[in-house]
């Protein structure tokens, strides 16, 4: 088991390395100096306390969406509905934050609860459809994303319109996850209390997966649905539960995004943090701790790419390109595994 974990780690690192090489090739191909580009990219994410705080703020929703995808994946479900869950979670939190006028600790707790419930509702639908009617969760997840997108698109301007047509009113200081001491500690960066929500979730999910009956059953369903059913595990119940928890995690991600990192909800944008969560989960080998590492790495790329774009001619989309390449290399990790096992090109054999 220990060897397995180390192997996942090596495969993850190799995927990152290959992704960075691919990014370097694209930079060189378009007439830029890759070393200079990467220098600015990483400097932009890590150079001082403020930028480091921004990186953590970028990583916060990614930890939660990554955890969401990873958790569902353990039960054999592909949660591609994360963007919709992020929107609805963020919308629920924003609505509570804009409507209630109560002391900050109480308000934040209620907003967290709203985000949790909103995301859970959006996650439970694909779960129920899969369990009861065997509807593929990828398609139903995508449909739920667009339903969330359009509901927000009409709801926000009608009831919570801000100074622009495309965004909601800004939430008050009391409703924001930003805390003065934390912002001050990181020299005025975007970092907020969301990072603690994310880390608490990482701990809770680790405990659920490793030390509870529920976690054992969820993993059993993921490993072999039929064997789990034969041994008396209620497969359908576990699928619904896994999707509900996954949805709740993404919903919290929405709260940290729209009422922590930002202070209003934008309409007409599918949050990229949703699909990036898939990348985070894969790179983190669907383990909670791995997810934190992967989210931090993607946080660097996301917060550093603007700086790189400002200092060089390299378009900032290179960051997303690198992330996409990393996922592709993670998906084709059989090649990397075989390379380390010394039997390249004999992928058909498999085996450990």
């Amino acid at each position: 088991m220990r060897l397995q974990v180390n192997k996942d780690f090596i495969v993850g690192l190799s995927s990152v390395f290959l992704g960075l090489v691919a990014g370097a090739i694209f930079m060189a191909f378009t007439g830029n100096n890759p070393f200079e580009g990467y220098n600015y990219l990483f400097a932009g994410g890590l150079m001082n306390l403020e930028r480091f705080g921004n990186t953590l703020a970028m990583a916060t929703p990614l930890i939660l969406t990554g955890l969401s995808v990873a958790f569902a994946f353990r039960t054999g479900m592909f949660n591609i509905g994360t963007p919709g869950q992020v929107i609805i979670g963020g919308l629920a939190a924003t609505i509570v934050g804009l409507t209630l006028n109560i002391p900050k600790p109480l308000l934040l707790s209620l907003m967290t609860l709203a985000a949790l419930l909103g995301g859970a509702v959006w996650g439970i639908v694909p779960g129920l459809l899969k369990a009861k009617f065997n509807v593929h969760e990828v398609v139903s997840g995508i449909m739920m994303n667009w339903i969330a997108y359009w509901i927000t698109y009409y709801l926000v301007p009608s009831y919570f319109k801000g100074s622009f047509e495309t965004e909601s009113r800004h939430i008050t200081q009391a409703a924001s996850l930003k805390a003065e001491w934390l912002t001050g500690l990181f020299k005025g960066s975007y970092i907020n209390l969301g990072i603690f929500i994310a880390l608490v979730c990482v701990v809770i999910i680790s405990i659920i997966l490793k030390h509870t009956v529920l976690g054992y059953q969820l993993k059993a369903v993921g490993f072999n649905r039929h064997a789990a059913e034969y041994s008396g595990i209620n497969v359908n119940r576990n699928i619904v539960l896994a999707m509900m928890i996954a949805g709740a995690l993404s919903g919290l991600g929405g709260q940290t995004l729209y009422t922590g990192y930002a202070s209003s909800i934008q309409i007409g944008v599918m949050p990229s943090q949703g699909f990036d969560g898939i990348a985070v989960a894969l790179l983190g080998a669907t383990s909670p701790v791995g997810v934190v590492g992967a989210a931090f790495f993607f946080g660097i790329l996301q917060s550093g790419k603007g700086f790189m774009n400002a200092m060089t001619d390299i378009p900032s989309e290179i960051g997303d390109t690198i992330i996409a390449c990393i996922i592709y290399f993670a998906a084709t990790s059989v090649l990397i595994r075989n390379f380390f096992d010394g039997n390249l090109f004999r992928s058909k054999k498999g085996g450990k």
């Binding site: 065997n134 398609v139 667009w146 378009p315 989309e317 996922i327 084709t332 058909k348 498999g350």
Partner: protein
């Protein structure tokens, strides 16, 4: 109500065509046993290739450049789909993950290249394809005004490909082999069919057709490449399931989506639709898809081996 239908029909058809051809591409891939959720990304690649080619050659070739750009888009889509084919056929990778990687890569890489080449993430066409009334046929009572009025050339091209695909799938040896690989690859292998080759062809066809789908959006109603097709590829995937993996079913499903989406988009212009809240119309296609998927779940006709890597030694 009739006049509303007559008014929006050409728009509904124009909207349905890219969906139809992409869905049809997905059909070839899934029928050969490879799930391709990268359709969305492949459409983006096709649109990108077509936009670049048209912008470069329109001054010298005119409308001919637009038609040639469709072929370029198909080639680009097919080339990009090789990534998915390699991962899912040779490496037994998780096909859903590989498809997701295709989607993300296409969106980011095309904008990256567009910015590098043209200096902007958006590529605009000076001219799209012209609309025309089909001579003679447009005067047929009832259906003439619906089907043959204000059509694009690409519509007839895509309908032609649909007919050809149905013929190839059900009346040729290749079609039989393709379907066999998606149902029972081991039996197909035992009968002397090269499963890997057939699956490669299936994925490549899906790449080419999705590329054409993305290019069709560009040269007909959008006229601008912006690095995204706003979920059309996933809608095509839903249409594939809705249409039960059959060419005619897919035709019906995509027409339904075309109608639903056009109704929502034209609700402001049509007084008859103003009474319905816009959000209901926008959400309608997606909710109905969910309901349809539930309804069809009992009698699903999914290719049995779709999504499963083929391993020779495994029984």
């Amino acid at each position: 109500m009739w006049s509303v239908i007559v008014n929006i029909f050409p728009y509904a058809v124009a909207f349905a065509m890219p969906l139809l051809i992409t869905s049809l591409g997905g059909l070839f891939s899934e029928r050969s046993g490879v799930v391709n959720i990268g359709l969305e990304g492949l459409m983006v690649v096709g649109g990108f290739a077509s936009a670049l080619f048209t912008v470069a050659f329109y001054p010298s070739l005119g409308t001919g450049a637009i038609w040639l750009s469709l072929i370029v888009a198909m080639a680009a889509g097919a080339l990009f789909s090789l990534l998915h084919a390699f991962a899912s056929i040779n490496l037994n990778a998780n096909q859903v993950i590989s498809g997701t990687a295709i989607n993300m890569m296409a969106g980011a890489l095309t904008i990256f290249l567009a910015r590098t080449i043209t200096g902007s993430g958006n590529v605009q066409l000076r001219m799209g394809l012209p609309r025309f009334d089909v001579p003679g046929l447009v005067h047929i009572p009832v259906i003439g005004r619906l089907i043959f009025r204000q059509t694009y050339g690409t519509t007839w091209l895509i309908i032609g490909i649909l007919a050809l695909s149905a013929f190839v799938l059900y009346k040729t040896a290749f079609g039989l082999r393709l379907r066999a690989c998606g149902e029972h690859p081991h039996a197909a292998d035992a009968a002397g069919i090269n499963v890997y080759r057939i699956r490669y062809i299936g994925v490549l066809i899906s790449g080419a057709m999705s590329g054409l789908g993305g290019a069709t959006i560009l040269v007909t109603y959008s006229g601008e490449f912006s690095g995204s097709v706003a979920g059309m590829g996933f809608l095509a995937l839903a249409a594939l399931i809705f249409g039960q993996w059959k060419p005619l079913g897919v035709l019906g499903a995509t027409f339904f989506f075309g109608f639903a989406a056009t109704l929502a988009n034209s609700s402001q212009a049509e007084p008859a639709l103003k009474a319905i809240p816009e959000v209901v119309l926008k959400v309608f296609p997606y909710v109905v898809t969910l309901l349809a998927l539930v309804f069809f779940s009992k009698s699903t006709q999914a290719p049995r081996a779709s999504g499963e890597p083929y391993e020779k030694g495994k029984r």
